[in-house]
């Protein structure tokens, strides 16, 4: 029966199965803290701390652009300018902060993880780890995924902070809305659940991006070309599943 199932159905199913299996193994390796402790710190620095500048830059620009664009779209003169703040702040907190960070990390972190693990696979470094008696999944994948889950919310907070700050600053300097009115408007419509939702979202994004990239990298086949393929696939798949997760979370939680 399986033989007659077309490949375009079978391949994704097989991939999903192997992905789940990998996650299952990784989950089982979590208690072996000693295996990945050192790597965890390193990955947290590489995924989290070192991504801060680029994430903050992108967030600052998207916050500024959102402010300018919102004030451009609100042409009716009687609308209080504070509305700009009431639109920019939730946009940043609910969507932009996490998604901008997500896309940047999908490119920056996702591609790097896949390339690293892919190279280790094709040069037998993963085999070498295994041959020593080390749990390669615990050693390589757990710290990356955990670092993603822990550091992504940190990056999200930084993105929101800088994005809202950038929006305020550009709004004020560009003469669109004074900072005071911006803040008042934002406060008027502020929901404490929004930042919580953003953090949940960024946790999920962090997991999605790192686990998919680890999966693509860990099962790389076919030399340098395979590494290239895995890298591209990791970045693309991370973005696609990030958007999917975004939608699912919005439907479930909002």
């Amino acid at each position: 029966m399986l033989r007659n199932t077309p490949a375009f159905i079978l391949n994704p199913l097989q991939a999903l199965g192997r992905y789940s299996q990998l996650l299952f193994h990784a989950f089982g390796a979590i208690p072996e803290f000693g295996t990945y402790r050192k790597n965890l710190w390193e990955q947290m620095v590489r995924i989290g701390v070192e991504s801060l500048p680029i994430v903050m830059m992108a967030a600052a620009f998207s916050g500024a652009v959102t402010t300018v664009q919102t004030s451009y779209q609100l042409v009716f003169p009687l609308i209080p300018k504070g509305i700009i703040g009431a639109i920019v702040v939730p946009s940043m907190i609910l969507e932009l902060g996490a998604v901008v960070t997500g896309f940047i990390l999908a490119g920056r972190v996702g591609a790097r993880i896949a390339a690293e693990l892919g190279t280790m696979r094709v040069t037998e470094q993963i085999d070498a780890l295994e041959a020593m008696g080390l749990n390669s999944i615990g050693y390589l994948i757990v710290p990356r995924v955990v670092a993603g889950i822990v550091m992504f919310p940190v990056l999200y907070v930084a993105a929101c902070f800088v994005g809202i700050g950038g929006g305020m600053l550009v709004g004020d300097l560009g003469g669109f809305v004074p900072i005071g009115e911006f803040v008042d408007g934002a406060r008027e419509f502020f929901q404490p659940f929004d930042p919580l939702f953003g953090v949940i979202k960024s946790l999920v994004f962090g997991f999605t991006i790192t686990s998919i990239s680890c999966f693509k990298g860990y099962y790389t086949k076919g030399g340098a070309e395979g590494v290239g393929r895995a890298t591209t696939q990791a970045a693309v798949a991370s973005c696609v599943f990030l958007l999917l997760a975004d939608l699912v979370l919005a439907v479930i939680l909002l």
């Binding site: 947290m44 009716f76 406060r187 502020f190 930042p195």
Partner: protein, 310 residues
């Protein structure tokens, strides 16, 4: 050197946590470092109040609403909220839901009690005021008010037009004309003094309702919109009438001046300047009010949050 990764990560995470907490408190409009304390209030109707709405005392934001839910026992609306620790929410303080639900700008307004009595303890109950359905009342009465104002103004205009016509006919007997003028002016006078009370009543009503509007926004957004439309129409009418008024008024003054200067025997009007003054002051009063309304609509509209409507 060996711990540098750990330190980098730790510092980053701690910074992010601090920024997150302070940021949320900042936009919740809570004091960044002061602690708060929780209180509860009970209402018949939440009027659209939701978690996250601001709590204000005398127009100053001092906290926010944690949760709004229906009590299982009483079926009443329970509102949990917190305010800055420094705010003396004493016994006798009252809470009222204020703002426009239709615009999503609802908040909890606290009226503080006597500062000399003890505070309501943490988690204690602040009595909730349930506003009457003032909007509804006002909406019902609006057409009536408008009709009244219209009628008065229409009559005034008619009278003045009559006076005008009489003056325009040079053949008519002067005395007769004067008598007619006098009669007309009498008529105007009575009419005005009669209607003036009604006008001031109406204006008083508008005034009170305007003041109430701020606190009494009910959940019926459509009624509010309808009311605003009517107020708008009234403004336009007043505006139109005002122009003919000031024209007529000038003519009237012209007549009176002529009478005054031209013939000393025409004592009636001269001997009774108070009538003229009353007429004049009444007209100026309306004039000023309407002009004010026209020039500074925000003054009235701000009260009613009309601006937010657009």
């Amino acid at each position: 050197m060996k711990y540098s990764n750990e330190i980098k990560v730790g510092v980053t995470i701690i910074l992010a946590t601090v920024v997150f907490i302070l940021g949320v408190r900042y936009f919740e409009d809570l004091p960044l470092f002061n602690s708060t304390y929780g209180l509860t209030a009970e209402f018949d109707n939440a009027g659209g109040l939701i978690a996250g709405n601001i709590v204000r005392v005398n127009g100053v934001a001092v906290g926010s609403v944690n949760a709004v839910y229906i009590s299982e026992e009483s079926g009443k609306v329970i509102v949990d909220f917190h305010v800055d620790k420094n705010i003396p929410v004493t016994e006798g303080s009252e809470a009222v839901v204020a703002g426009f639900d239709a615009l999503g700008v609802v908040r909890l307004e606290l009226k503080l009690g006597d500062p000399n009595v003890p505070r309501i303890p943490e988690g204690g109950l602040v009595s909730g005021l349930n506003p009457g359905d003032l909007i509804g009342q006002m909406t019902e009465r609006a057409p009536e008010m408008m009709d009244g104002a219209d009628r008065v103004l229409g009559q005034l205009e008619g009278v003045l037009a009559e006076a005008n016509t009489m003056l325009a006919s040079p053949e008519s007997d002067f005395r007769q004309t004067l008598r007619a003028v006098q009669g007309s002016v009498d008529e105007v006078e009575t009419l005005l003094s009669e209607e003036r009370e009604r006008i001031s009543d109406i204006l008083g009503n508008v005034d009170r309702l305007t003041a109430d509007l701020d606190t009494a926004a009910g959940e019926d957004g459509e009624a509010v919109t309808a009311l605003m439309d009517r107020l708008n129409t009234m403004m336009t009418t007043l505006d139109a009438d005002l122009e003919s008024y000031s024209a007529t008024n000038e003519q009237l003054q012209e007549i009176l001046r002529k009478l005054n200067d031209g013939d000393g025997t025409l004592g009636m009007l001269i001997n009774d300047p108070s009538m003229y003054h009353r007429l004049d002051s009444t007209l100026t009063g309306i004039n000023a009010l309407v002009a004010d309304f026209q020039n500074n609509p925000e003054k009235y509209l701000k009260e009613m949050k009309l601006v937010d409507l657009f």
